[in-house]
């Protein structure tokens, strides 16, 4: 790997953010040359970013955590000789958990951008759309790659602003703008609270580096306040109940490709939540209390998300409530791991498996929920209808879209052999040993999820061919290909879950549990 592309692979963490930024700023220029050039550059930029992401992930999973120092003579020179052991440079630290998130961003980002090329053909100003999409990519990539709390705040803001602008990009008679304003206002408030938490840590430890603070942490009263200031805004960003209200508004009004990628953006906020609780604070945290806090958010999100989804008539709003519900599974699994973190025998008995289930569900959810939003977008694209009461019989004309929808719907409901079942299987069994009641709620939520998606399936695709949709055809090829790729991954993840768990999920769990590797990557190089 060291000589790959003439040593360029040593700069993969920087390229992960630099490439989408560069292509984002090229977009207005490209539009002046030719409209099609924006398509080519956007796909090329996202393709290169994904390539960087995949190569970086392979490197981390084969050789261990990667550190990158900006401005150093060599990118692995984390501590300047005259810094007194304080990491003063801007550092990126990508361990297995970060690489796991980079992989998700790479796959879903590329699929949704290719999907959007045709989707956005109907609208002018594609350059603005692509520029914002690539800025969002840069923001979320930076969030999962950086090892510095202030940079994390900066990337959080980039992703929030780009995400809000993307929600509003099609105006939608002002409704989308209203949804975007809510998203922007809540994100900005959450971002400021996060910044306040960072400031509390900086005043005490004199550094913004996560590894350095984790090593030096004393868990003062101010640190306790900082935990809350870092964790609660991130829980809001990932749609945890009762801070989820923005999500159905924003997800339902954004273009379908954007919504699919906003799911990933929310999961990056969940990454920050887990990174804060495990890597930054876990040695000094009241683990049971914070574990139960995360579990409580998870259970509320699961149950309220799914029950609010059932009566919805707007297909994307319904799916948005399911996104909230599915986030609950992830919080539940990782929360159980956090609650038993201080008890090694319980952690080995079921805590690690619960965390593996929760983290595996992040990946699975990104794939199947992305897929479901894309299928909903394809139906809206062809029919112009988003109200389930006005849809029906589309299975006759949109067979491929229907098949892709079925794969996503069965996966989200936890039906074998799709990927959602594999992660839910790990969750049900391990959470049952922690508290059977929680596991029963999780199973009940899956039953309700199935019921909800039966309704969507029937309303959109079943029934006689309706005369008003006589002219409707299958979605355009790039959209079908994007949906197809995600559907294949959903099936493969379900048929070969062990491959994913052994090579990607378990290293990510270890990265969360073991602070030492993360700290060593920065402090001992």
């Amino acid at each position: 790997m060291s000589t790959f592309f003439g040593g360029l692979d040593n700069h993969l963490p920087a390229l992960l953010v630099g490439v989408p930024l560069l292509f984002a700023f090229l977009m207005p220029l490209a539009e002046r040359v030719h409209r099609r050039l924006t398509d080519i550059l956007a796909v090329t930029g996202m393709g290169l970013t994904s390539l960087c992401g995949v190569l970086l992930a392979i490197r981390v999973f084969t050789t261990g955590a990667v550190g990158y120092a900006f401005g150093a003579a060599s990118p692995d020179e984390m501590l300047p000789p005259d810094s007194g052991g304080v990491p003063v440079r801007i550092l990126f630290t990508v361990d297995a958990l970060g690489a796991f998130m980079v992989l998700i961003i790479s796959v879903v980002g590329l699929a949704t951008l290719v999907y959007s090329v045709t989707r956005e053909d109907r609208h002018g100003e594609k350059a603005t759309f692509y520029a914002l999409f690539l800025l969002l990519t840069a923001g979320v990539s930076g969030m999962v790659a950086t090892g510095d709390l202030f940079n994390l705040f900066v990337f959080l803001e980039i992703s929030s602003l780009a995400g809000a602008a993307l929600v509003a990009v099609r105006m939608d008679r002002g409704v989308a703008v209203e949804a975007a304003l809510k998203y922007a206002l809540l994100s900005a408030t959450g971002g400021l609270l996060f910044l306040l938490g960072v400031a509390l840590l900086y005043t005490q430890y004199g550094s913004l580096n996560i590894a350095f603070i984790a090593r030096e942490l004393r868990m003062t009263g101010l640190d306790t306040v900082a935990v809350a200031l870092l964790a609660v805004p991130m829980a809001m960003k990932c749609g945890a109940v009762p801070m989820h209200f923005w999500m159905p508004d924003a997800y339902s009004r954004a273009p379908a490709g954007v919504t699919a990628f906003l799911v990933v953006s929310s999961q990056c906020a969940m990454y920050v939540l887990f990174r804060s609780l495990f890597t930054l604070f876990h040695r000094r945290l009241d683990l049971a209390m914070f574990g139960w806090f995360v579990i409580a958010l998870g259970v509320l999100s699961m149950f309220i998300g799914v029950t609010m989804a059932i009566p919805q008539k707007d297909v994307k709003r319904l799916m948005a409530y399911h996104a909230i519900s599915q986030s609950g599974y992830m919080l539940l699994g990782v929360g159980v791991g956090l609650a038993v973190l201080g008890k090694p025998e319980l952690l080995d008995a079921y805590g690690r498996k619960a965390m593996a289930g929760g983290i595996f569900h992040i990946m699975n959810h990104a794939l199947y929920k992305g897929l479901l939003f894309l299928t909903a977008g394809a139906v809206i694209y062809r029919t112009g209808q988003r109200d389930l009461n006005n849809l029906g019989g589309l299975g006759h004309q949109m067979g491929w879209t229907m098949l892709c929808f079925m794969a996503g719907a069965l996966a989200i409901a936890g039906i074998p052999p799709f990927n959602g079942f594999a992660s839910k299987f790990l969750l049900y069994e391990s959470v049952f040993r922690f508290n059977p009641f929680l596991s029963i709620i999780a199973i009940l939520v899956s039953v309700l999820t199935l019921a909800s998606f039966m309704k969507v399936f029937h309303s959109m695709f079943m029934g006689p061919r309706l005369p008003r949709f006589a002219e409707v055809r299958e979605a355009p090829l790039p959209m079908v290909v994007s949906m197809g790729v995600l559907a294949v991954l959903v099936i493969l993840g379900g048929l070969f879950p062990t491959v994913v768990v052994e090579h990607i999920i378990e290293p990510a769990v270890v990265a969360l549990l073991e602070q030492s590797e993360y700290i060593q990557t920065v402090m001992e190089r």
Partner: protein, 114 residues
């Protein structure tokens, strides 16, 4: 080989490829059973039309069961729950912020108290 792809949960095991093989066998059996019936099936004529108590069949637009008609009983039974839950979803961003600050305050107070 098949068991090499089995997922261990710590207390149980999931064999996706075994499940897939069992599903394929069940699908083949179902197809064979369906084939027995198809031979004697009559096509065309009034007996293949839906019987609606002697009434005329409605047109396609009206015969399709719409989303709002599904789970009517469930929604009716849970009316009280939904009334309370929907009331919380005000659409007012000031309320959204209050929930955020409320959760933050609870976490800080509980964190400092323990």
């Amino acid at each position: 080989m098949v068991f090499a792809f089995s997922l261990q949960s710590g207390s149980g095991v999931w064999h996706p490829l075994v499940w897939l093989a069992a599903f394929a066998v069940a699908a083949i059996i179902a197809r064979v059973v369906l084939g027995f019936g198809r031979g004697s099936r009559k096509t065309g004529g009034d007996h293949v039309k839906p019987f609606l108590s002697g009434n005329e069949e409605l047109d396609e637009e009206r015969i399709h069961v719409r989303a709002s008609n599904l789970y009517w009983g469930y929604l009716e039974a849970m009316k009280g729950y939904y009334r309370r839950l929907t009331a919380l979803h005000t659409g007012n961003v000031a309320d959204y912020l209050l929930w955020l600050f409320g959760v933050l305050a609870i976490m800080i107070v509980v964190g400092l108290a323990t």
